[in-house]
Symmetry: C2
Subunit: 481 residues, 2 copies
């Protein structure tokens, strides 16, 4: 390529991409803005009132040629952007699952961006790789997960962006492990997360090789049906490859019988992946451990999201694997320019060999800071509060004759409906989200349209949960008393 | 699951995960820490002096039960972590490609974490989706990319974490588009990025269906060889599916003849993906556009990384596609709980249908802030400076009899070696990185061991580039004059 002429542009020289003194001033402004935003949350609606295309139409059609100020940006943030956001940190956010943040997590993310390192290889930032291995192992211990996932053994743990990406990597490892002439088959319950089908599709499994196993009346995978499906596949010359057991389904929080599933999977040499994306972190409380981590010693991989209810802002998915070798065999591609002495020695983990992307942010910082600045005891107390408040909410719903519980509380998730039927329930949800300030979402539970209440927001307190019930009951014309 | 008892823990109540006043104080500390860190960079070594396992061994084996302070964390950051990082923002970082950050980007990342929204669907934060579509279109215009990638048409643009992930999504879309009984085949040059083979492997392409097409003496894909390979595959009953044209190879910055490749791809109905991960953003300068965006009108997808040389901190990969439909057909999995009125209407983009993960950070903020607070003119001036300094460096290398240029400057990348051979060159690189304060990496160029100099760091100035040459020449025993 031709070399360009050195810049003759006199304006450009005055733009310094990082000026320390200016950054101190601008940073203070941003910190205060964030503090003000969180303070403002309770008084806001959770959902914005905005039409498709409305925001895009109000933004300039092209980038500016010359620099604008942080004040310009903040003004547009206040005027245009924030009023058109869905406020996930609002105390009245009960939709989907929480993606809760906290001061230590936000500060950790800022520090990570400020350091600007990229930990694709151990060599490209040794402390980033090692801190990640250590803090993910801290979490493993807090959850009571088995030694097979421990740091420094045949397996280990890491942080990925999401449960979907983690599952995909494990699925690819499983597929490569059993590679033979037979068609490999993937299994998950009918209520397993959409990432199972998506991951299998990405990994090249045809629709005919993805089995969605029926669930029982409580939404749990039917192990007898799984066993039958695997036997049928084997008889037909196919190869059972990868089974996803879900600990806490999205719709209703059902927990598959992991140990029984694991035994069936082992019988056929299939990889067992436990998707505990939402429910997993509850195992930091010993009293929930039996349900949540049951059967983990049979799992080849086990994943959970501290970015859901554990105060680490999105994204932070923790994934443990029993065999580094299986993952690395499938995902390592080391061209000459990525080879390093440390990597070649085998003495270190190059985490890019455990994931889809090559590059890596320093996500361990925020997990480290949350675990240290909040502490395990307070994290446990929060889980217990959420579970207790959800039970209290469910009791109020159950006591109202107009309503029925569709699935009893599973940890901090409950689903319910109007006895008047799906249409009335859907209309109620729409009305509730409109009058606010709450946001709940829906799901199908046993072929019924269900309203879901998922508790776990950072600012959400008992009073917010009780107030949500009053809003719902009021909108339904019940007393809410 | 059983409901837990409400917390009896008196300590836990005192831990507030977000206290606005405390956040203001803590945030100032973090902002100042980042400013101090950037100020300290020139005086640091780029590479740490640390052995595998050393940092892990110095960290506690388990998480704390009770809260520690931000001061505790910062103390450990200073004492343990930072001395064991590779400093990507150091002015002497010339390795790999830059992952450069800037004040607006760091502030944007902090704001994104502070807002804590999750934009998987339009409904889950309308302004996040629309701002992303708009700012990515701003960049499209700055780069001179064709209308087929414009916002609001059949295609569009988005932000992903990395070029690897973007490529994978396009590859899956291509595979699904041509799904028939024939074996689909993937093509890239022998010098294409490792993410081509990795993506193909993840997507289930067997090794035998991944063609690495030979390059010419300048490292560019041989179009005649591509055409021959495709014809051979068709004759054998296979289906040419996906071709990656690289604009700026990692090893030496070679630019494949995209237009000629595109014509061959079209002839066989194959998807053309342009991987301009590093070189792409140079097209903001009209004088580099001919080389960089040539043939883009034949591409089905085109990706570049503002997180390399455009001052947006990692991660920020911009991907444009010609057909939303192709991507969404391959990647959409909408269970009931992810269905929304807006999504069902087809009037909006639910960006999770364009990527592997379900969840999404609000990355558009940082790209928006860089484009606004730096401005297009200053971004162009930076590219021109980097190109000019690289040319100047290359001229110094070429004038030294002990050295030879292995590949002439391509934009801001040049490779060179000692005439004394591979062993001497590898040893020189090792010595240079040890004496510092610079960090350069290596690659294979025409089967020679090459030292690569990639210019583009945020703090890197002309003097740093010239100083790097003095260090290299000095370590080689040349004068460096």
């Amino acid at each position: 390529m031709p070399a360009g002429e050195p810049s003759e542009n006199s304006d450009a020289g005055s733009v310094r991409p990082f000026d320390a003194e200016e950054f101190r001033r601008q940073g203070r402004l941003v910190v205060d803005w964030i503090a003000d935003y969180w303070t403002s949350l309770p008084a806001r609606a959770v959902l914005p009132d905005v039409e498709p295309g409305e925001i895009a139409a109000r933004l300039p059609a092209a980038a500016p040629e010359t620099p604008q100020t942080l004040h310009d940006v903040i003004a547009d943030l206040d005027r245009l952007i924030v009023p058109a956001l869905t406020h996930w940190q609002h105390p009245g956010f009960f939709a989907y699952f929480p993606a809760n943040a906290s001061a230590p997590a936000i500060l950790g993310e800022a520090l990570s961006a400020g350091l600007g390192i990229q930990g694709m290889l151990w060599t490209t930032s040794p402390a980033a790789s090692e801190l990640e291995a250590v803090v993910v192992d801290w979490l493993r211990q807090l959850l009571g997960l088995p030694e097979r996932f421990a740091r420094g053994g045949a397996g280990g743990g890491m942080i990925q962006d999401s449960a979907s990406s983690g599952l995909l990597c494990c699925l690819v490892a499983a597929r490569e492990r059993v590679a033979d002439a037979r068609t490999p088959v993937v299994y998950g319950s009918a209520d397993a997360h959409s990432s199972v089908v998506k991951g299998a599709r990405i990994a090249g499994f045809p629709a005919a090789a993805i089995r969605r196993i029926a669930t029982d009346e409580a939404g749990r995978m039917r192990v007898d049906m799984l066993a039958a499906a695997m036997e049928e596949d084997v008889a037909a010359g196919r190869s059972p490859c990868f089974v996803v057991a879900t600990v806490g389904t999205t719709a209703r929080g059902a927990v598959d019988p992991v140990e029984a599933i694991g035994k069936v999977a082992r019988r056929h040499g299939a990889w067992l992946h436990v998707d505990a994306a939402w429910a997993g972190t509850a195992a930091i409380c010993p009293e929930f451990r039996g349900t949540v981590t049951d059967g983990a010693e049979l799992a080849d991989s086990w994943g959970t999201n501290p970015h859901k209810s554990m105060l680490v802002n999105f994204d932070c998915h923790c994934l443990w694997i029993a065999s580094r070798h299986a993952l690395e065999s499938a995902l390592t591609t080391k061209p000459e320019y990525l080879r390093t002495a440390a990597g070649d020695s085998g003495a270190v983990v190059d985490y890019s060999d455990w994931q889809v992307p090559l590059g890596r942010r320093f996500r361990a910082l925020k997990l480290w800071m949350v675990l240290r600045m909040i502490g395990a005891r307070a994290l446990r107390a929060r889980v217990r509060d959420h579970v207790a408040w959800t039970a209290e909410f469910a009791a109020l719903v159950a006591a109202d004759a107009a309503f029925e519980i569709l699935s009893p509380p599973s940890l901090s998730l409950v689903t319910f409906a109007l006895r008047a039927g799906d249409g009335a329930t859907a209309e109620l949800l729409s009305r509730v989200n409109r009058v606010g300030p709450v946001f709940l979402s829906h799901a199908r539970v046993g072929n019924r349209y269900a309203i879901r209440l998922a508790v776990g927001g950072t600012l959400t307190g008992r009073a917010d949960v009780l107030e949500a019930w009053k809003t719902i009951a009021g909108a339904a014309g019940s007393t809410g008393a």
